[in-house]
């Protein structure tokens, strides 16, 4: 092809080329790894390099097994771990929503200067490494950490409270770390909302709380959905926070995954754990997207 032919091709197809970029990205960085994990999850573990059986044996026969998945179903440990991860992530999401909504609302309604400052404060923690911030919480919640010392100094308590190495500490870590991901999408929808709509509802006889549930909440729904997904999805597989802040009995799926891979070197089982986790995530996402599609359909 000559240079001008290339140019012509680009000029004609630039829209398709641009759309192709995210598809290519997904193909290379999501679909291909997923295929590899899927392949490993139906293999048998072997002591070799790599530590799982190849897809085809020497005679070229396909070898695949459901053993890893049936094992996940039979050993109660995994069901309990999945359930615990889902409930913890869901509770943390609800907590983030309860704390984040008023904050986002306040920021969206603040005057322009204050609003930028508040947004900056929300984003500021990202300048510091996530790991460091979680360590900082250890320093705060220690038996002889800042919080306990302060409360003892105040005279509220005379013995240090056990804050660390409990679910409480995991919740603190999760809510603290993921709150910005709830606030930012909520802020974006609330900021766009026409304030006259709330006034109009009140003008027509709605008290402020009724106006909130009739107008503000339904119009903030896309932001709520986006924020919840952004918190729930990373929270469910979270490894660092439960590992550092939670107790040894805090068996969450991220921990199990890590142990299977690196401690037991059972790659096929670990892959099966990951696949099931993915399914657990995909189902709520699909449901939420349906509801969102319904919302936009209603709105248009």
């Amino acid at each position: 092809m000559t240079e001008s032919a290339v140019k012509q091709f680009v000029n004609r197809n630039w829209q398709r080329l641009i759309v192709a970029v995210p598809y290519l990205w997904l193909l290379v960085f999501f679909l291909a790894p997923f295929a590899i994990i899927l392949k490993i999850s139906v293999a048998d573990p072997v002591i070799a390099q790599p530590p799982f059986t190849p897809a085809f044996d020497e005679t070229g026969r396909l070898q695949a097994t459901w053993d890893n998945f049936t094992f996940l179903l039979t050993d109660k440990l995994y069901a309990i771990t999945y359930l615990k991860s889902v409930t913890m992530a869901a509770s943390a999401t609800v907590l983030c929503l309860l704390i984040g909504f008023p904050m986002a609302y306040g920021i969206a309604r603040a005057s322009a200067g204050v609003r930028n400052l508040l947004l900056l404060l929300i984003i500021l923690p990202f300048w510091i490494s996530f790991l460091l911030r979680v360590y900082a919480w250890m320093g705060l919640m220690n038996n002889y950490g800042v919080i306990n010392n302060f409360l003892i100094w105040l005279g509220v308590i005379d013995q240090p409270m056990q804050l660390m190495y409990r679910d409480f500490a995991i919740y603190v870590g999760l809510v603290y770390s993921y709150l910005p991901f709830m606030i930012l999408p909520l802020y974006a929808t609330l900021e766009r909302m026409d304030l006259d709509l709330v006034d109009a509802a009140m003008d027509l006889g709605a008290s402020p709380s009724v106006a909130f549930f009739d107008v503000t909440w339904p119009l903030a729904r896309p932001g709520v959905v986006a924020g919840c997904l952004l918190v729930f999805i990373p929270a469910i597989g979270e490894y660092v926070i439960p590992y550092l802040l939670g107790g040894p009995e805090a068996l969450l799926i991220g921990r199990v995954l890590f142990d299977e891979f690196f401690v037991n070197r059972d790659w096929p089982l670990a892959s099966a754990v990951a696949i099931v986790l993915l399914l657990l995530l995909v189902v709520p996402i699909v449901l939420l997207q349906r509801s969102q599609a319904r919302d936009t359909e209603l709105a248009s």
């Binding site: 026409d194 006259d196 709509l197 006034d199 109009a200 509802a201 009140m202 003008d203 027509l204 006889g205 709605a206 008290s207 009724v210 009739d214 107008v215 339904p218 119009l219 919302d295 209603l298 709105a299 248009s300």
Partner: protein, 375 residues
């Protein structure tokens, strides 16, 4: 609750709505400055003023969205100043329309009645009535973003009317409409107002709209009322230069008073290049500076010098002219250099123009047509 209009009892008491010394300050900025006003039941009252003069702020105080810095508001004898919006017998049509984007036309219109917990059957029939009134029957199941600007405006109107409030506040109700539709809707609004006997307060910055619609007009500037009166009073007897300029076009001659007898003043105007006469009941003394103001349509234009002795006559040449179908506009340059605008009806139909550029003409007016402005 109190969204219902009271049984139309007493006749037009001028104090149906009473506003006393109402002010609104935003920090240091005075948006509404000590406004007092009385409006009778059933009036269609317009507030006219330029952008940013405080019209919306005044309306929002009446609706209850802004807390007045000072002053009180009475509606039908009740002090509503401290009532929240949802307890006032007032509904508002917003400048932005503020139609709920997630509800259909029908449920937008019925919203107010649902909040009053009226029985379903009554809500249904009243929504039907409203849809009929604003001619949106075929669009009842549509979402707001499937409507045209004019249709949306009618949804907003219906939604504000359905509770039959004692007072309906309309913030630039027709601003988004094209000229034809606007004129049509103006008459519809007047018809609706007449039928439902609701007191309307309409905010607008379109003076023609105010003139056509209203029983009375308040001209607002920088948070204050410059003049309140019937359209005719405001147009024919503007109380100051701002009002005269704001409503329609007007020619003014800066002058100095040289004599005053029996309500007739004689002034000397360098701009006109001669002595002018005008009638006034204002207390004016010799030596005062005044402006003599004349509407373009009050001035006659002719090629021969008119002979009525009482009238003022000035000589000039046609500097510019414009043909507007039903009338023509002329800009006449006087020998002093002053430009005077004159409008004349095009009564004759002819391909020939009556006047051409640079024609010498006489302009004249009756002394009772001139308005004396003291500020």
């Amino acid at each position: 609750m109190n969204g219902q209009a009271a049984s139309n009892g007493d006749s037009a008491s001028p104090d149906f709505i009473r506003i006393e010394n109402l002010s609104k300050h935003f920090d240091d900025f005075v948006a509404v400055d000590s406004v007092s006003l009385s409006i009778a039941r059933g009036e269609l009252f317009s507030i006219l003023g330029g952008s940013g003069c405080g019209k919306t702020t005044l309306l929002r105080m009446l609706a209850g969205f802004e807390v007045p810095t000072t002053g009180r508001i009475f509606i039908d004898g009740i002090d509503v100043t401290d009532l929240p919006p949802y307890e006032r017998p007032v509904n508002m049509m917003f400048q932005s329309y503020a139609i709920f984007p997630h509800m259909t036309v029908e449920s937008n219109i019925g919203y107010g009645l649902r909040k009053d917990r009226l029985p379903k059957s009554e809500i249904g029939s009243r929504v039907d009535q409203m849809l009929e009134l604003v001619k949106l029957n075929d669009f009842r199941h549509r979402k707001p973003d499937q409507l045209s600007g004019g249709q949306r405006q009618r949804v907003a109107l219906a939604r504000a009317l359905i509770k039959r409030p004692k007072v309906l506040l309309l913030d630039e109700p027709l601003a988004a409409l094209d000229r034809k539709l606007r004129e049509h809707t103006q008459f519809e609004l007047m018809a609706i107002q007449d039928r439902l006997k609701i007191t309307f307060i309409v905010v607008t910055h379109d003076q023609e709209e105010a003139m056509t619609l209203s029983t009375r007009i308040a001209v607002m500037e920088q948070g204050r009322f410059e003049q309140v009166g019937t359209p005719k009073q405001v147009y024919e007897y503007p109380c100051n230069r701002f009002v005269a300029d704001f409503i329609g076009t007007i020619n003014t001659f800066e002058s100095r008073v040289v004599g005053c007898t029996d309500g007739v003043i004689e002034v000397e105007s360098a701009e006109a290049g001669s002595h002018l006469h005008a009638l006034t009941d204002k207390p004016i003394a010799s030596g005062d500076s005044v402006s003599i103001a004349l509407r373009p349509e009050k001035i006659f234009i002719s090629q021969e010098r008119p002979d009525a002795a009482e009238d003022t006559c000035l000589h000039g040449i046609v500097e510019d002219l414009g043909y507007f179908g039903n009338l023509s506009l002329y800009r006449i340059r006087l020998s002093t250099g002053k430009i005077v605008q004159v409008s004349a009806q095009n009564r004759r139909r002819s391909a020939e123009r009556f006047l051409e550029w640079n024609d010498e003409v006489w302009i004249s007016w009756q002394r009772q047509s001139a308005v004396v402005l003291t500020e």
